[in-house]
């Protein structure tokens, strides 16, 4: 990948926000407090960031809230101006800070597609030409002349995403777009980004979903306090991110005495009754799960939690597991040790798409997370007996005609 040409070159980018202690936003304030000018606090959002992104790369930028990652994206997108440094890019760029920005609810989807396409850098004619493709992708052809205000939020998101895909920029800067919509939508987004990358497009993803970083990014960068802490291997980036997160609020994650409780997923999958790895599960068949975690550091009293969510993101059920211990064995997972969570789960799920989210907490306190995995597993329950809701329950209930009670 490093042989591919550089398409984004960022050198020493700095950004400082002035946060006024006493906000001066009227002439009166200016007139009454002419010297109030200096009364602000400087917030160094970025303190000299350097990195390169190569053509066709899927590059992740991660960091905690307030680390400066979104500011960096906004500077790269020409929304904010950098105070120092230099950014150079090659090709047409489209930022996706939020899906559907600039949609006008009073206009029809056709008009909105053209408007949004032009915002993303297409020519007017080009945007008009691609309208049909957008509608096809969004599966909204039947609603083309409907005003956007009558769209459901799901349709709106689909339309916005379709415009973004068809805008076909060389470089896509994406800020947590995946946070909207359900799990299957997020999956679709990722599939599209991977497809784009195959055709030589470059994707820069700002996120704090480490699963996405680990599974999609070629390289990633960790930003903390406006500085680059790490760049390179996505696994390592995720690890360092977790380390920062679970090190409490101490500014420096590598300081002594900081407990690091990170865990790595070695394997996660579904099994059928015969013990073979499967992608999906038949309705009524028990769900066999097999997950292996590896502790990077000692984990006291670990609890492994699993939540099953339906396609709408609602938790259907869940369970927690503690380590099964031999008598006298300490309840801990030492660094390098692995925990295998396997077995079968009764399957009352109705046909549909489901996601398993997982977390591992230590010291038996839920709040003290070692690892939180969104979409550990993603599978479909297939079958021919659909029903209302997400689960079917056995109901021993009979409906009969009541005898002897008959009103004239």
């Amino acid at each position: 990948m490093s042989s591919a040409p550089v398409v984004i070159e960022v050198r020493g980018v700095e950004k400082t926000f002035r946060v006024a202690r006493h906000r001066v936003d009227s002439f009166k304030e200016r007139a009454l407090h002419p010297l109030a000018h200096g009364d602000y606090r400087e917030l160094h959002a970025l303190r000299g960031i350097d990195f390169d992104v190569h053509k066709g790369e899927f590059f992740g930028i991660v960091g905690r809230n307030g680390s400066g990652k979104s500011t960096l994206l906004k500077i790269m997108s020409s929304i904010y101006r950098a105070d120092g440094g230099r950014i150079r890019m090659a090709g047409r760029l489209a930022p996706f800070i939020e899906l559907g920005v600039g949609f006008n609810p009073e206009l029809t989807s056709r008009e909105n597609i053209v408007l949004n396409g032009v915002m993303m850098g297409l020519g007017r004619r080009e945007a008009q030409r691609r309208t049909d493709a957008v509608l096809d992708f969004a599966e909204l052809r039947d609603f083309v002349d409907l005003r956007l205000k009558n769209y459901s939020s799901g349709m709106m998101v689909r339309l916005a995403f379709a415009v973004m895909v068809e805008a076909d920029a060389d470089i896509m800067l994406v800020d947590e777009v995946l946070a909207v919509g359900d799990a299957s939508f997020a999956q679709k987004c990722m599939d599209v980004f991977r497809e784009k990358r195959r055709t030589g497009r470059t994707v820069v993803l700002v996120t704090h979903d480490m699963t996405a970083v680990q599974s999609f990014c070629d390289r990633a960068m960790l930003i903390h306090d406006g500085e680059r802490r790490y760049i390179g291997d996505p696994e390592e980036t995720a690890l360092r991110y977790y380390r920062l997160n679970f090190a409490g609020d101490s500014a420096n994650g590598s300081g002594p005495g900081v407990l690091d409780v990170n865990v790595r997923i070695v394997d996660a999958g579904l099994r059928n009754a015969a013990g073979e790895a499967v992608e999906n599960v038949e309705q009524g068949e028990p769900i066999g799960i097999e997950v292996v975690f590896e502790a990077r550091h000692d984990l006291e009293d670990p609890v492994f939690g699993f939540h099953f969510l339906n396609a709408d993101g609602e938790t259907v059920f869940g369970f927690n597991e503690n380590l099964k211990l031999r008598p006298g064995e300490p309840n801990r997972l030492a660094a390098g040790q692995r925990a295998r969570i396997s077995g079968t789960v009764e399957n009352r799920l109705l046909p549909g798409r489901y996601v398993v989210n997982s977390w591992i907490s230590r010291n038996r306190t839920q709040g003290d997370l070692a690892l939180h995995v969104v979409r550990l597993l993603d599978f479909v329950v297939y079958g021919t007996r659909p029903g209302p809701g997400s689960v079917s329950m056995n109901a021993d209930v009979a409906a009969e005609i009541e005898t002897g009670v008959r009103l004239p």
């Binding site: 042989s3 591919a4 040409p5 550089v6 398409v7 070159e9 926000f17 936003d25 009227s26 002439f27 009166k28 200016r30 053509k55 066709g56 906004k74 500077i75 790269m76 997108s77 020409s78 929304i79 904010y80 101006r81 950098a82 230099r86 950014i87 150079r88 890019m89 090659a90 090709g91 760029l93 930022p95 800070i97 939020e98 920005v101 600039g102 006008n104 009073e106 206009l107 008009e111 053209v114 408007l115 032009v118 915002m119 993303m120 850098g121 020519g123 007017r124 030589g200």
Partner: protein, 280 residues
């Protein structure tokens, strides 16, 4: 995959026309045309409503100035002159008043996309201009109906219109770019534009103004435009701006102010544009 080295271009950050001329023009066109369509086809009486406003104002003013103050009775073709002026000034007032809050209203677009900032106030002016175009058709029908024959000077009217558009754009740029930082710009501009309304020969011909006041009115860059419009479109015998101001020399001041406003607009806007997203 490894293509020939790709040329890297500097990313300069947001600006008035960020993203190139072509894109800015496309956006300008699309936004104003959709906004225009929305007002005209959005409601059943869309266009009638927007025509009703100047017509009603015109009706009230006509009664006041012909029946109550009787200024109008000595002025040839006063009703059409009044209608013409009200429509022209209405364009300036509507565009600038909408422009004040325009950037803040488009907050999402400014903060979340790479959007040429200048397009926002320009789209406001352009939408008002479409409005003006339709209104002028009605006005010219009235002008002909009131017995003012077509004159060759009508051909010069687009020049005046261009100047009026220029100053409207300039003022819109100033108020729109200052509003995010100084929210009282909205109130200030409401008052200022009312002052301008009375300080421009819209309701009255310049000839009824006492000599001393005339010099003050002559400073207003809008005044000569309205005087010329009257002379060229409605009454060739009306005094031109030079006569009204008391000599051509006096016209230097409004001309200078006109240029100054335009220069100020470009300076203020290009100064504010890069930081607007942060101020919102």
């Amino acid at each position: 995959m490894s293509d020939a080295p790709i040329e890297l271009r500097d990313v300069r950050g947001p600006s008035a026309l960020g993203g190139g001329w072509r894109r800015a023009l496309d956006l300008l066109y699309l936004i104003s045309i959709t906004e225009f369509k929305r007002t005209y086809f959005g409601t059943v009486l869309g266009y009638l409503w927007s025509l009703a406003r100047p017509l009603m104002l015109f009706g009230v003013l006509l009664v006041v100035f012909t029946q109550v103050f009787r200024v109008g009775s000595q002025v040839p073709h006063y009703p059409v002159l009044l209608l013409f002026n009200v429509v022209l000034f209405g364009f300036f007032q509507e565009a600038t008043a909408t422009a004040v809050t325009s950037i803040v209203n488009q907050e999402a677009v400014v903060r979340k996309t790479q959007f040429p900032r200048l397009v926002i106030p320009l789209a406001v002016v352009l939408t008002s201009l479409f409005n003006l175009g339709l209104n002028l058709v009605v006005v010219f029908v009235f002008i002909l109906a009131f017995g003012v024959g077509p004159m060759w000077t009508w051909l010069l009217f687009p020049v005046l219109l261009a100047l009026l558009i220029t100053i409207t754009v300039a003022v819109s740029m100033i108020v729109a770019s200052l509003y995010p930082r100084f929210r009282d710009m909205a109130i200030i501009w409401t008052v200022l534009s009312t002052v301008l309304f009375y300080g421009t020969p819209v309701l009255y011909p310049i000839t009824v103004v006492p000599e001393t006041l005339r010099h003050i009115i002559a400073l207003n860059p809008l005044a000569p435009l309205f005087e010329l419009a009257r002379k060229w479109v409605i009454d060739p015998n009306a005094p031109g701006p030079a006569a009204a101001a008391g000599g051509a020399v006096w016209l230097i001041f409004p001309a200078l102010i006109f240029v100054a406003v335009c220069v100020l607009a470009v300076w203020v806007f290009s100064r504010e544009a890069p930081r607007i997203a942060e101020e919102l």
